[in-house]
């Protein structure tokens, strides 16, 4: 039968400088403390973090010489773990965190309206090609198209600004689009995203 050294003796040895004593203490109580933490937080990574923080506190207290052997070692460590679990839940309450699971991913519901980098590059390229094509249009058509598309003006406003009737502005816009299509077809330009 293997002789088990008492926790209090291991603690004394550790305080005296025996690092091996700490290894025995950690391995002896690893499962019990970890299971206790896991039963509260139900997350293996958080369990690992709290376990680590618990023993960091234990190590600091023992090395500092602040530990008094009033009770037993394990209940003392469990109390530290318990307090750290409370801290963890307090912190999460202040800053709630939602984590998806394997079945549900929050990002499948929430989408970002922004284009991705590749699509943004393609869009920029198309915009720049289009502005070059617009330069090829006759002055009157280009003017109407620029006001309508880029300045978002109504045809009433365009007619007032250019001094032509609304119908003329509409006609110029129509011809501007027809001519743009002609230029695109003639030069085999692909303007799609």
């Amino acid at each position: 039968m293997e002789l088990q050294i008492d926790d209090s003796i291991l603690v004394k040895n550790y305080i005296s400088g025996d690092e091996k004593a700490l290894e025995i203490l950690i391995n002896r109580h690893n499962q019990r403390i970890s299971s206790f933490i896991y039963s509260k937080v139900m997350d293996r990574d958080i369990t690992e973090d709290i376990f680590q923080d618990t023993f960091i506190k234990v190590i600091r207290t023992l090395k500092r010489g602040s530990y008094s052997e009033e009770g037993k070692f394990l209940p003392w460590v469990m109390r530290i773990a318990h307090n750290l679990i409370i801290d963890h839940f307090r912190k999460n309450k202040r800053m709630p965190k939602f984590e998806g699971s394997d079945d549900f991913n929050i990002f499948s519901v929430i989408t970002d309206d922004k284009l991705n980098a590749e699509k943004q590059l393609i869009k920029d390229q198309i915009d720049s090609d289009l502005s070059l094509l617009i330069e090829e249009l006759p002055e009157d058509q280009r003017e109407v198209l620029m006001m309508r598309i880029y300045k978002d003006m109504s045809f009433k406003e365009i007619s007032e600004n250019t001094g032509v009737s609304i119908n003329t502005a509409l006609g110029r816009m129509r011809y501007a689009l027809i001519n743009l299509r002609k230029i695109v077809d003639k030069n085999n330009i692909v303007l799609t995203n």
Binding site: I26, S34, S35, Y38, M42, Q52, I59, G65
Partner: protein, 47 residues
């Protein structure tokens, strides 16, 4: 008296800190020291 059984059995979840965590703690312990200077105590972490 009728014995009541819960439909959901309490499953014992055994968790254990990984050897990496234990290793980190042992390394932390070896590198940590406290030194006293007059009435003050300083924590030092050796590399």
């Amino acid at each position: 008296m009728e014995e009541i059984y819960s439909e959901e059995q309490k499953i014992c979840k055994i968790a254990k800190a990984t050897p990496e965590t234990v290793g980190f703690l042992l390394a932390f312990s070896k590198s940590t020291a406290f030194m006293k200077c007059r009435n003050l105590q300083f924590e030092t972490v050796l590399n």
